[in-house]
Symmetry: C2
Subunit: 306 residues, 2 copies
Amino acid sequence: MRITFCCTGTKAQPWLEGLQAALPGAVVDLWTAGAASADYAVVWAPPQQFFDEQTGLKGIFNIGAGVDALMKLRLPPGVPVVRLDDAGMSVQMAEYVCHAVIRHFREFDGYEADVNAGKWSYRKPRSRADFSVGIMGMGVLGERVAQALQAFELPLRGWSRSPKSLPGVQCFAGEAQFHDFLAATRILVCLLPLTPDTRDIMNRDTLSRLQPDAYVINVARGAHLVDEDLIALIDSGHLAGATLDVFRTEPLPAQHPFWKHPKITVTPHTSARTLREESIVQIAGKIVALERGEPIAGIVNPARGY
Amino acid sequence: MRITFCCTGTKAQPWLEGLQAALPGAVVDLWTAGAASADYAVVWAPPQQFFDEQTGLKGIFNIGAGVDALMKLRLPPGVPVVRLDDAGMSVQMAEYVCHAVIRHFREFDGYEADVNAGKWSYRKPRSRADFSVGIMGMGVLGERVAQALQAFELPLRGWSRSPKSLPGVQCFAGEAQFHDFLAATRILVCLLPLTPDTRDIMNRDTLSRLQPDAYVINVARGAHLVDEDLIALIDSGHLAGATLDVFRTEPLPAQHPFWKHPKITVTPHTSARTLREESIVQIAGKIVALERGEPIAGIVNPARGY
């Protein structure tokens, strides 16, 4: 069995060694143009040429939760595309979102500005009932974020394509319930997959439907958000601000207004990083299962795009 | 039945109105020097004169979780001193501590400095196993903080006077296990009551026993911490920094080095504020119970001091 590795922007050597150690019977190598086809591919944003040449693949493993970069390519028909189930990402996402939610709800930025100015000043505690958190995207990551947020007793709402039921979360589904979901949301968290249906989903119309003084947290993909609509609604006072981890172009271009906006917190796509060791264990386990003809989790539905 | 209110630094009118509404049959008034004794007292840091004059009290209600200010006074013997059980404070404490723990563990201050300098830079994810959180004080607040932290999969340790058992928390008790508790703690959270036994408990000796590069979060009382020992250990590089919400003197004096220390985050005693509505419901309920001769929770043991 041959495994080929083709991951843009990723240091290959530790992955090659890790995959080799996990699958000692396999030949694991770095893809080069013109190489013979392998049995399995481990990829992140490969070029189209990769799939044009690798015609004997039995499985394609994406080393991330989002497969939107892959879905733009012509993929070999009938070959399962597999995304990482979790591999240590959901706990990171729960941390990132809880931190951003608490920081906003408890006004820690305001306290910090006061302290930097040498001021000891109280703020009236805000009412929990006024700060409902609405999560768009209730997959593995969204559910985990909702579960972690339960500890803080903020009203929780979730919106997903297909109906879900989660204890302690008011669930909304589909286009028909989207506006109702938005209307009572004070802190919006985007954890959607990026598909043609969800591109630009946070725009002037939808963001205007949120509660006055709402806050936006985007930890999904930059293309979910129309940048200039967010800025316009913050500057007009309808939105309180945003925490953004993902951007249309990454790294965020030097001249982009998000860098210096006083009400926008920027982080460099660090909310949930792929953890190599956990990912290798998961991918190796799934290759073994596929070889045995056993079912595996995480196979992407090309029609849905995730 | 008469209820007298004597709370330093608290706007009295909303409390008087709230207590009156909750106990319509009672006379509720603001204490003045020389007034006849009431049946119940609602207090925060009252003067000694208050207890010298109020000789007919059947119960003393402290509008906070910590009763250290009361325990310094000569109190009428045999009269129960009652502290707030929770009254919305434990969820606030869970928020504050989770925020500080995640902010430190995920290096959000470092990312913020990078972003302010226009830098898009990754940091290698830290290993969860290296960041055990050790909570000193496993009462209502400590347990709630531990419960909220479970979501983030950091190793949890707890230390208390008497032995406890909590799922997912490695528990230590008493003087004998204190050094073992400290030795493997990377993030120390102080939630102890302030008593003669716990005063100055975070000092050069004890803080030196923490893991190298440990972090300190104090949300209990300023007198738990020896300020100059903390600063010396941060400046020598043994400790990574601290988040402090409580201080020996509050407001923190203008010249205190904590204000400007680059590795210390200061907040103005805001981690868990007494919420008036919840507290009034709780106090009124306990007064009714005492009048009926029923047992109530939250009675302070004067020998322990909490």
